[in-house]
């Protein structure tokens, strides 16, 4: 049943000057799953997130959320329908306080207060600090909080642990795993940190040059020789 898939990309194609960043990619993530999306640089991971979230222009195929076609929706409409995302680079409001920006996001999500999200992502003590005056790790958590506010149905994360220490990455990953389970959020996670991906994802999709190379549980992915050769090497 298509309705069981929280987010679906069907035959997605996007090219830049003849180079196919996505070449007819189809992906379906069941409700409540944390799906890892891995692959070398240029594999099309961020492009896939851009297409699913409504950021990309000029692409073909279809995007569905719980069976409903959302291909024609703008980024804002998709967010209001329940598709949230984070970005490869920290994408926050640097000059606003942590509280101010979360309240602005809360107003869009029509939720009455931001106490819960601040507490979940340990931002409460930073409420009145300008985002630019907080540490990089705090900014990544704030970025995640902006995406998670209003409990989206689908969360698309583009390298949320980029630039974090190993401990910070794993803390963030387990925080995410816990939240996604409790709030029933389906997650599609692009991440280069294999420790993070293999520790929290239910299934993993491997992209290579705009095509899906493999898909399976973490254990299955570890056993696929092409994936190990092309991407994992001896890291897992």
């Amino acid at each position: 049943m298509a309705e069981n898939y929280a987010i679906e990309g069907i035959d997605l194609t996007r090219s830049f000057s003849g180079f196919f960043a996505l070449n007819g990619v189809s992906i379906a993530v069941p409700r409540g799953e944390i799906r890892g999306l891995i692959g070398p640089n240029g594999a099309g991971k961020s492009t896939l997130i851009d297409v699913l979230s409504g950021r990309a222009a000029r692409w073909s195929g279809r995007v569905k959320m719980f069976g409903e076609d959302i291909s024609a929706m703008s980024a804002q409409q998709r967010r209001r329908s329940g598709v949230a995302r984070s970005f490869q680079r920290t994408n926050i409001f640097p000059d606003l306080t942590v509280l101010d920006q979360l309240e602005i996001a809360a107003r869009a999500a029509e939720i009455p207060n931001v106490d819960e999200i601040m507490s979940e992502l340990t931002l409460t003590a930073l409420a009145h600090k300008r985002a630019t005056d907080t540490s990089y790790g705090d900014q990544r958590r704030l970025d995640l909080a902006l995406a998670l506010i209003g409990r989206p149905k689908v969360l698309l994360l583009d390298e949320p642990a980029a630039g974090l220490s190993i401990k910070e990455s794993l803390d963030l990953a387990h925080n995410l795993r816990d939240l996604a389970a409790r709030w029933g959020v389906t997650v599609l996670l692009v991440e280069h940190d294999m420790e993070v991906v293999f520790s929290i994802c239910d299934r993993i999709t491997v992209l290579h040059l705009g095509n899906i190379l493999a898909e399976g549980t973490p254990a299955e992915i570890r056993e696929i020789p092409e994936v190990v050769t092309a991407y994992l090497g001896s890291t897992v």
Partner: protein, 334 residues
């Protein structure tokens, strides 16, 4: 929105209380202005002050656009000049009563800004500034070329009735009384813009200015809020145009020229565009600096340029921003 996160938030003044403080400050500011008009006998000084406050309103419009949208306009004289010409032409041709002409002078440039904004606010950075310059100069060229309508380069005098909205027109032409009127309007507009800037709408536009992409991805449409800021800024500018016409009773294409927009921008930068009152403060400094520099040398623009360079390099928040910062440190606020 409820906010129970920290002790600090519990001692932050609530918004209605902040508005009460702002209203109190506005009343005191108005009384200070009225006091200045009563105490200063010099017509020259009051003329300068009146011109400064009226042009300060134009600069406030320019500054508000920078503050809320992060956009620099080189064409705000268009909204100012259209307001001037709307009254002047209506009076010249006896099309409508003066009161309705004033309403039109506020509505027409505001409506133009709204429809123009739907297109141009989508254009980022320097391209936006160049577009505003082009649009502004188009209106200027029209005023220059359409001699039959506008009187061309020579301009024309505006004949006003003896009373407008029941107020004797002579009040608008005396620098002392007009200063009080203009200052009162300035204070009300600064109070209003402060309320807008601190409202949820103002916070949203500040967020869009900071990071438009993120604003879209938390679910906001980002074009209309920016259009509304441009519209509001044009309305403030149109108010300045109305006051100018009532005071000066003469219009010429100079009121549409890009150099007026440029001067307003200089005033906003000198005063500090991050403060609502900063550009108005900058206008007062600009006018007095121009007057003093004009006495020293015929090349007064060079002196103004030097002041601008010094402010931009040494005081990036403008003179108003620096003063406000010193005051905050002095009283331990903020």
């Amino acid at each position: 929105m409820t906010n129970t996160v920290t002790e600090e938030s519990m001692v932050t003044p609530s918004q209605p209380l902040a508005y009460t403080y702002a209203a109190g400050i506005a009343i005191v500011a108005f009384l200070v202005g009225a006091g200045i008009a009563a105490l200063v006998a010099s017509n020259l000084a009051m003329t300068l002050l009146t011109q400064a406050v009226i042009t300060g309103l134009l600069a406030t419009g320019v500054g508000f656009l920078i503050r809320q949208n992060g956009m620099v306009s080189f064409g705000h004289a268009a909204f100012y000049g259209i307001a001037c010409y709307a009254i002047a032409l209506a009076m010249r041709h006896g099309i409508v009563r003066a009161e309705l002409a004033i309403v039109l002078a506020l509505v027409v440039p505001t409506a133009i800004a709204f429809f123009l904004g739907l297109v141009i606010v989508r254009i980022p950075g320097v391209a936006f500034s160049m577009l505003t310059l082009a649009v502004g100069q188009a209106f200027y060229e029209f005023a220059m070329k359409a001699r039959n309508v506008t009187g061309g380069e020579d301009g024309f005098s505006v004949k006003l009735p003896s009373t407008i909205f029941g107020i004797k027109t002579a009040i608008f032409q005396n620098p002392h009384t007009m200063f009080v009127v203009s200052w009162g309007v300035f204070v009300v507009i600064v109070l209003f813009l402060t309320m807008v800037a601190t409202s949820p709408f103002g916070r949203l536009t500040a967020a869009i200015r900071e990071n438009e992409e993120r604003s879209r991805f938390i679910g906001y449409e980002t074009v209309l809020p920016r259009v509304l800021v441009l519209t509001l800024s044009a309305l403030v500018t149109a108010v300045a145009g109305v006051l100018f016409t009532l005071y000066n009773t003469f219009v010429s294409p100079d009121v549409l020229h890009w150099s007026l927009s440029g001067s307003a921008l200089i005033m906003a930068i000198i005063g500090g565009p991050r403060l609502i009152w900063g550009p108005g403060f900058g206008a007062i400094i600009y006018f007095f600096a121009k007057d003093i520099a004009g006495d020293i040398s015929e090349h007064w623009q060079a002196i103004i340029g030097l002041i601008l360079i010094i402010v931009m390099v040494l005081l990036p928040t403008g003179l108003g921003g620096t003063l406000a910062g010193l005051l905050r440190r002095r009283v331990g606020y903020g």
